[in-house]
Subunit: 775 residues, 2 copies
Amino acid sequence: MAAAARPPDDGEGAATTNPDAARDEAAVVLTPSAGIPQLGDRELSTLAQIGQHWRNAVADRDAWDRALPVDPHLHPLIDKTPQGRRRRFADVAFRLEPKEESKPNKKGDDQGDVEATEDATADESPPRQALNRLRRVLVGAPLRSTAVTEERMRKLVALPVLSSDALSSVAYGPEAMLAVLVLGGSGALGLSLPIAGVIVLLMFAVGLSYRQTIRAYPRGGGSYIVASGELGEVPGLLAAAGLMLDYILTVAVSIAAGVAAITSAIPSTRGDQVVIGLAAIAILLAGNLRGVRQAGAIFAAPTYAFIAAILLLSAVGLIDAAGRGFQALPHPPVHATEGLGVLLVLRAFASGSTAMTGIEAISDGIPAFKRVEWRNARTTLTWMVGLLIVMFIGTMLLAVLDGVVPNGQQTVLSQLASKHFGSGPLYIFTQASTAAILLLAANTAYSDFPRLLFFLARDFHAPRLFLRMGDRLSFSNGIIALTVAASALYVAFNGETDALIPLFAVGVFLAFTLSQSGMIRHWLVRREPGWRHSLLFNGIGAVLSAIVLMVTSVTKFVEGAWIVVILVPLLVILFLRIRVHYDRVGEAIRLHRLPFNEDCQPVLPRAVGPPPGLTPAAGRVEISAAAPRHAGEEEEESPDAIAHLIVAPLVSLDLASLRTLAYGASLGQPLLAVHLATDETDAERFRRYWSTWGDYVPLQIIHSPYRSLIVPLARYIEALKEQRPDLTITVVLPELVVKRAWHRLLHNQVAPRLRRALREQKGVVVATVPFHLPG
Amino acid sequence: MAAAARPPDDGEGAATTNPDAARDEAAVVLTPSAGIPQLGDRELSTLAQIGQHWRNAVADRDAWDRALPVDPHLHPLIDKTPQGRRRRFADVAFRLEPKEESKPNKKGDDQGDVEATEDATADESPPRQALNRLRRVLVGAPLRSTAVTEERMRKLVALPVLSSDALSSVAYGPEAMLAVLVLGGSGALGLSLPIAGVIVLLMFAVGLSYRQTIRAYPRGGGSYIVASGELGEVPGLLAAAGLMLDYILTVAVSIAAGVAAITSAIPSTRGDQVVIGLAAIAILLAGNLRGVRQAGAIFAAPTYAFIAAILLLSAVGLIDAAGRGFQALPHPPVHATEGLGVLLVLRAFASGSTAMTGIEAISDGIPAFKRVEWRNARTTLTWMVGLLIVMFIGTMLLAVLDGVVPNGQQTVLSQLASKHFGSGPLYIFTQASTAAILLLAANTAYSDFPRLLFFLARDFHAPRLFLRMGDRLSFSNGIIALTVAASALYVAFNGETDALIPLFAVGVFLAFTLSQSGMIRHWLVRREPGWRHSLLFNGIGAVLSAIVLMVTSVTKFVEGAWIVVILVPLLVILFLRIRVHYDRVGEAIRLHRLPFNEDCQPVLPRAVGPPPGLTPAAGRVEISAAAPRHAGEEEEESPDAIAHLIVAPLVSLDLASLRTLAYGASLGQPLLAVHLATDETDAERFRRYWSTWGDYVPLQIIHSPYRSLIVPLARYIEALKEQRPDLTITVVLPELVVKRAWHRLLHNQVAPRLRRALREQKGVVVATVPFHLPG
């Protein structure tokens, strides 16, 4: 089945009335059939014309129906009521579609469609059975397409669902900043509050900026959609590449930080962070393949618990500090390993700004809000940014007041909590809710990453397989891709948050910058009411994001940001090349091959005769004179344009070979048997067998003195094809089907090798005639 | 192409006149067509009867010839003289076989066979081209089958060729023995000469024993052939398994010892033995793939040089020793780490007996001698054993007289040579000839191992691919298998001779024991003149070999012999299971399916109607009434027994799909188009396109609400098949052929997946209609 074609709205003749509306609509619709190409008006008319060619070939349409040796509706089998236990799989695997009474039977004989039931979806071949059962247990039974539902969320539910990523950043952002400053010694640590102040300003500005995006893209404005819609293909792809890396890093960093919360609380688990982290990723994988909807309840508890824990911790800490007159406690002696310079401050700022990751989630998720969506989304964004700022400030203040600095053993949050809560239930609550919200934050990437890939695939920038909804209506291919990438990254960096942080901010701020810049263009072009106001906020957001992007890329370059700096353009090139390929494919298989003359009648490709120099031989062989109408090479769209030759290569005359020969002969087309002989004895022997059998079919013996079989056979078929390029040559091959995989090693795999050797050759069909072996 | 069938002489009706003669003949014939099964008389008569069925189907044989749209002899293309540079590949890829003038043209129109020239053997698809060129450089141009020549050797040439393996054992056997004794301290070292004496006796006995084998098997008597011929299948396979491991170890040990000779002489190379050894194995691989014939000259020089070096060393050493009245010099102080007990002595004996490996080579290689082969072989064997004994005694005596013991830095031979020759040219000559003969010894395994696999494959105990002669007439698959196994072993044991030695002797003596035991039975059964004499020698050989086998297996068990003790039975089980599989396959595809009635007319399988309960549906579909004669499942050997249904699954209507539909329709058989719809929109849309096109072919829409496509399609085809099990269903699929490998990731690989899903289903042919994409 041909898998790819260009989207209809790219077609010259496609009748899309309002491209903008269509794009807006398409931007958020995730349907199971999104991957199936549609035909435009021009293509439909070409289709009708191709059909007229068929009229010559298909004299009597009803004859086809009468000739059909089976009932395609499976009627006799389906109609039987299954008695007791399952009898034959066809009883349960298919059912007739209920007929719509309103629709009259066009021909009076249309018995309707067949539906594959759940039983028809499981591959029950023995090696797969156990695998299928395991999958059922882990992932659950498949869901029908109609089970796609859109959950609408109240603001109080949407807040935890969409903000777990952003709020959880408080667990690692402040720590990442302090970890850099500590390198500069005590003097540097004193700069932590000013830097935190700048980051808070940045949060405020970006938050305001996204408020504008929400208003402008009320159906969902992810960075890829905004940047590609407003700035064009390449900026959109840059944003997409940044976001893809961001999502992968979100999983890796959140899991690393979450595991750190656990190992801080339970010292005996220190050193096992890779195993624990991979287990957590495996749980996320299984849960997301199962298609855990973002059920409010699951998300609400840990997020609110984390908010409560941090706010309580800040309050208790500030009260404690108030008790000593807000006197900062001395921090443990730190050994300055670097001079305190601008570079160190900028690096600390870059690390701290990872506390802002995830802030864009609400503008991606607008359609999930109750009406009026954009208004509710804006309010929720305001709440979220407010909470983020409060929690960030609280944590930073406390760290400074308590003189806490990062150490390799416990996270900063854990140190603070144990300082103020002791080791009792409140401490455990803090650590547990931290770990839980970080797991949820990683989970957000599991819905965002596959959705981004879906959009990319829909726009022909990613393989079509990311369009496919899995058994459970989740985009399983994207989920698996994210899991593989995040696990690899996590293992490569040994599950250490500090090592991952330098990679993190670049992708995020690239996407922020492009998205805000897109908004600038949006307001400049549209000039909707209040556009100056919005333009200002988006302008500030864009400029600040761009500054952070540059600071991060440069200062963190050697520490790891170079990976992102290299990968982003490589990904964009890949996206573009994928698009080029799909465009070419779409052009090649699109129904547009028949040019039209003035009367709007298709102009047929010129007829071809035998190639020049090919005259009938003197001997018995008469090259059939009837040259077909078409030029031959895979462009025949109607049956009468196809001239056949069946070639049956035979090694020996056993049952499998004779069955294949019989198959070839029974098709009623010209048939040529070919035997490749490795030596003279073999050739003589085969000739003798052939005449014993009766010589019913023309036989050509090809001597292969170099003992090679596949390539000379492929070459011979090519030589036949060269005589008559218009021929469609069907090579029929027996295929011994063995029961066990290791038995395959005992047989020459001629069919796949010949198929590979003939792959480059146009108009050669390879048909494998199976012969099932016992044991 | 069906690849395997049982040998004709196993057939019930096969007319082999003299099985013994045939076996003797077959035992040594290595032909390119050995893998192609032959038909016995009974099968030939079945073939003729199957042909008579065809007579019904093929009304006019000449019509087939007339219908052929091409000239199978490629006449018009071939006859053109290539002008200057190559024009089209068909000009050079094929040529007409020269017609034998004596053979009259049966029909007056037989234009003879076509021969694939060398140009037709190279796969010139772009990705392969570079690979092919590299192969040409490394391995050389392919050789014609007719280039197989049998070189006959004079005794003085045969001696170095066939004895390099045995004589080179002197380089590691004595050292291996001393390395064990040194563990027992000075007292143990005193036992070295008595143990060496026992080994010399053993050499003498085994040599005498093989003299008998040569007389009894004048056409070549390898252990596998003797043991399987005289004792039966399992003993033969035991010998084969032992020998296979022996050959692998010969390569590993000889290379290890040869590299040790080099590192002894050039201290700076110590520690690099793995790299040097792998390079040596790579040279052997390339040389053997090239098919270096065992040219006397190549072998003669190093072997005679080594013999000369050892004899000279012994002579000089003994003269030196004579100078001091044969007073043994004190050996360096050795620290006894084990008590001197029977076990230590036996282990030393077992290690020392590796000096006998390779002694069987001459009895394997009898056909390579000039006439009278067996007599010349016997004389050569006597020479070889004599030389082996002299060189072994010389080395051992010298080691004791000079007080040399193994150390980790230099081999014993190197120590002896440097003691007596200094570091001058004689020393270098000794070391170089040692390394050279050890490389040659490893090379012997490269001709023996593939030959053994050839015999095993011929007897259906190994995959058929080991029957295939490569481009250069060498058994490339066996050569590659040996290289992989020996390299793995060499690397696993870090290229250390000492570590490999314990594995070595078991396989050798297992093969010796079985071969000599086979000879005992031979003499007892045949009682040819002088049989008592031969029986005595073989008896002594068998008993001694069996004793060594037991001693080796037990005493070396923990040091590594357990690997061999476990692998040998596993290999035998594998050989037997492979045979069982091939037997079943042979039975299944053999031409024996038609039972005969009293008049010697075939009884046809019962005709089948539609399965019970399958009555024509009430609607438009009429199940075609004509039930075929045959029972349906892949047993139709004549065209009229095959009833067709073509199924064309379509995702969308693009050029590739329409081309596939046209292909299916043009075959002139009943055709059913199938569309799998993932949702209602998709189904409606496809139906609309279908009627736009013209609805020329019956269409069945299958809803797949679980979005899975492959499995429901496979299930649906199975359900059709269940309605009419006698149908042969051909599934035609478009296949988009991309130019670059990575583009394949961008398209759903429906064809291979569907082929896999349908593999278990009998009577379903999958045909892929290619559609070539640009770029």
